[in-house]
Subunit: 173 residues, 2 copies
């Protein structure tokens, strides 16, 4: 099937969108799995830190699992900050199937205000080093398939509709 | 679907069996993936060593990916030394679906003679520490679903038939 790759700042709404998309696909009778940053850090990438090297490893590992799933007919919905363009390029080019890159471009101020786990606060206080959006850069995708602002999470159903229509369009198979 | 977990000494024939089983399942129109030790060490568990802690982490990680696959209808064929009983117990109890434990009980002498990658030789020379069968123990499964000696790889088709009949039996679903 396909890989849907959600990239964006921490707290931009990636995982919320991923779960909504999964629900929608379930209603359509399509198998899917959400591979989100926190979940993969528990299972797949425990022990990895936030250094550039570890971030690459993290991303490639998730990409590998996504490939295993997608080539067996499961939509793999990956929800990871994945801040660098080269990182996303690398994971993209390792895939043979349909890869839908979604840029969740919620403004930094909105993400900081959400700060679900108080990570921005800790990063601003200097307790976390290399935190995307604070002291590490986020490089927006050059040509994302679907860019959108998820400041207003009430607009989610419309966004998810967009995904589903993309997944139905010729190509994803 | 199901998880088929092949455990046994290095060079006991696990991966050969795994690939044969995959082929047979493919002919039957069943989706499957082989997660073998080397492959997972490239993709999923790169950076992990052979310490007890790392071995557990390795096993649990593969178990997690196997679960993602199997709950989506893919037979996950895992081919890993997985030398300790507690290790296999842990991975087994983390699964909700059908888990078929296969003990590839090829005698150590035969495995050593095969020594596909020269690892036994290196372990015997003291170049590798903690190598299963040389200076680290292998605990045979207490109650494996299918035990067999894979000294003679010509007998593989018969072994694979056994697996397939087990997978068809009530239970795996």
């Amino acid at each position: 099937m396909a890989i849907v790759w959600l990239t964006g700042l921490p707290c931009s709404g990636k995982t919320t969108i991923a779960k909504q998309l999964q629900l929608r696909l379930e209603q359509m009778g399509k198998a899917s799995e959400v591979l989100d940053g926190d979940e993969v850090r528990t299972w797949l990438t425990d022990g990895l830190g936030f250094s550039t090297e570890d971030r690459y490893r993290n991303i490639m590992r998730v990409g590998h699992v996504a490939r295993l799933l997608s080539r067996n007919g499961v939509v793999a919905i990956c929800s990871l900050v994945s801040p660098y363009e080269t990182m996303r390029q690398r994971v993209r080019s390792a895939q043979s199937g349909y890869f839908l890159e979604v840029y969740v471009k919620t403004p930094l101020e909105v993400c900081m205000k959400r700060d679900v786990k108080g990570m921005y606060k800790r990063a601003l206080a200097g307790e976390i080093v290399g935190f995307t959006g604070v002291d590490d850069i986020y490089e927006p995708p050059l040509i994302p398939h679907i860019p959108f602002d998820a400041s207003d999470l009430d607009s989610l159903p419309t966004i998810v509709d967009k995904f589903v229509s993309q997944l139905r369009a010729p190509g994803p198979g």
